[in-house]
Amino acid sequence: MMRGARLVPLALVAAFLPAQQVTSDRILHASSEPQNWLTYGGGYASNRYSLLTKLNRNNVGDLKLKWVWRPRYTEKMEATPIVVDGVLYTVQNSEAVAMDAATGRIFWTFHYNVPPQSNQYLMVVKGLAISGNSLFWATYDGHLISIDAKTGVANWNHTVFDWHQGYQFNTAPLVVKDKVIVGPATNEEGANCWVAAFDAKTGKELWRFYTAPTSADQPESKTWADESWKHGGSPIWVTGSYDPETNLTFWGTGNPNAGWNGDNRAGDNLYSDCVIALDADTGKLKWHYQFTPHDEMDWDSVQVPVLATINWQGQPRKVVLWANRNGFFYVLDRGTGKFLLGKAFVKQNWNVGFDEAGRPMKNPALDPKPMGGPYVEPGTQGGTNWYSPSFSPRTGLFYVSAWDNYGGPSSKGIIQEWKPGGKYSGNGRPPGQAAAGRAAAGRGAAGRGAGGRRGPGNPGLRTEDEGYGAIRAIDPLTGEKKWDFKMTDYTESGLLTTAADIIFGGDRDGTFVSLDARTGEMLWHTNLGGTVASGPVTYEVNGRQYVAICADNALYAFGLPD
């Protein structure tokens, strides 16, 4: 028990003073404390841009591993940590932890046993949110838990939904003022999803906006044939953003169900594959824009809404920047949702142009057909996916993890009979029949339709014809590519830029890399031995800047040598 000098025990009844809390005002002005990382996207604009500059182009090449944290679970980690005043909080599977951000040593661990049978894909959790002295964890099996950030003790634990009905929480919540905003996913199970706000103090639900209709009386139900709206899905599985000037919170919605076969749901299928702008106090819809009406390619629009002010046609304009899974980069007016720009950022063949309102004009020859044809670019995994992009106000560039030269046949198949918690994906196969996909499409066995390998393996066997991943810089004024950092395999990594004009990202091969944000030149790299599938964060402790990233099932922190 005794280490070092013998010390005299003291009576410890003292005047205890509470530490500084993470107030709403602090989150609102997160950029004024760049030593911290207070939200999933690094701030309400979700641009993953940090003002820290101690790491720069001259010294980033000296980065060294400082510590590693490995949870007791083996799934690939997708969580973005929160960092507050030297304490890092993160979550994986069934445990949330607080650790010293400089050393990785654990302060506390909070366990909530997520039932393994609730796992429909991966027990994905993308992170925590913080408000006051409370952390918020939306668990895979439908609980919303408030945890005391100092002690790791639950303040409250509410059941929001029954996961048997086909719901899961994947998302890091977003705290706006006194509300915790979050929504569920449905993994092709036809459960109609929503965005909802909960009282941060009590957990009481305050408002809910459904992303698929709940009644035939709603106008949106007319965008679904017959009663197909009843199992419309339209999931939420990536965190939204918030604009304090308009009090709007922006969320991307996922694909309609049944996902790969739209035969029984003729119409646009609102509000699937949309960005929805909701009043943060009431949940009322202010505007929406639908990226892919009547989607049959699983092109969820669950990308992170990036809020920026750009010099649009000679005038400053508040916009939402969005690189969509359907392969197009969009610029939308933030206040109205008006379509300003839509330009392909990867090879695509499904859209022949936009009408004046920004509605895509689909190439009818590429409408999905049963059993694998035709060949659509991008493929079902998209030109990008949920990987957090970044926008640097200094370079004026938007950065995205892209999958290019990538396509595949649709997976259109039989629409299953809907039942709670059962697959309702529209890619069912008749008994004894092989799955559609790359073989049926006659494109070889290179994995184009399946999205390539998943993690380190043998990338040397791939060819460029099979598609490639890239960290891609896009000029939001034109949608034009400025530079590429190409990878052999695809990438699932989020991105981070800093005011030192450097960018961090990774790939499926396990590479974690820093680039010059203006040119794409590689400045530093290391290999973490597992897929990088989260977003990097940066923070400072005692004047030292760190960069943290998850790869496979571990969290790594890097800094300059002592």
Binding site: M1, M2, R3, G4, A5, R6, L7, P9, L10, A11, L12, V13, A14, A15, F16, L17, P18, A19, D85, G86, V87, A98, D100, A102, T103, R105, I106, F107, W108, D148, K150, T151, V153, N155, W156, N157, H158, K201
Partner: protein
């Protein structure tokens, strides 16, 4: 075996009777008047440094609660131990012990700050299990002790 069962039934039956002897409302006033929340947390009030009492009624029997009040050193759970770190410059840091290893110690200090201290920066540290809480023997009357026990026994958590 029958005697043991009978004894267990007697103990279980006696525990709630003990708690019912006191006046929980008066006990709540005594807890406030004696500054217990300077170290303990109840609901969303009080310090996080001492043991959280929000659901103590579910976790401790009345007789153990009485012991904690009158002889607080008699039982200190591992998670409630304190640590006193003496830094190389002679200053000290104290708080609730959270974690420690060969190179560092982690604690929640009196300002409710989570702190990690590397031992290379310290002369040493001592884990404390005694003297963390004053005894209320002689400071509270037997009736008042019953009142406090009744109040603490009523704390069952928020949900």
């Amino acid at each position: 075996m029958l005697k043991r069962v009978a004894l267990a039934v007697l103990v279980l039956a006696a525990a709630p009777l003990f708690a019912q002897d006191g006046d929980a409302a008066k006990g709540k006033e005594l807890v406030a008047a004696n500054g217990c929340t300077r170290c303990h947390r109840i609901g969303d009030t009080g310090s996080r440094v001492g043991p959280n009492l929000t659901d103590i009624g579910d976790r401790r029997t009345p007789d153990r609660l009485e012991t904690s009040i009158l002889q607080p050193d008699a039982e200190v759970l591992p998670e409630n131990r304190f640590v006193l770190v003496t830094m190389k410059d002679g200053t000290t840091v104290r708080g609730r012990l959270l974690n420690h290893d060969a190179i560092s110690v982690q604690l929640l200090d009196g300002k409710e700050q989570l702190r990690s201290i590397e031992l290379k920066d310290a002369k040493g540290y001592q884990i404390l299990t005694k003297g963390l809480m004053p005894s209320f023997q002689g400071k509270l009357s037997p009736e008042q002790v019953k009142d406090v026990v009744a109040y603490l026994s009523s704390l069952k958590g928020s949900e």
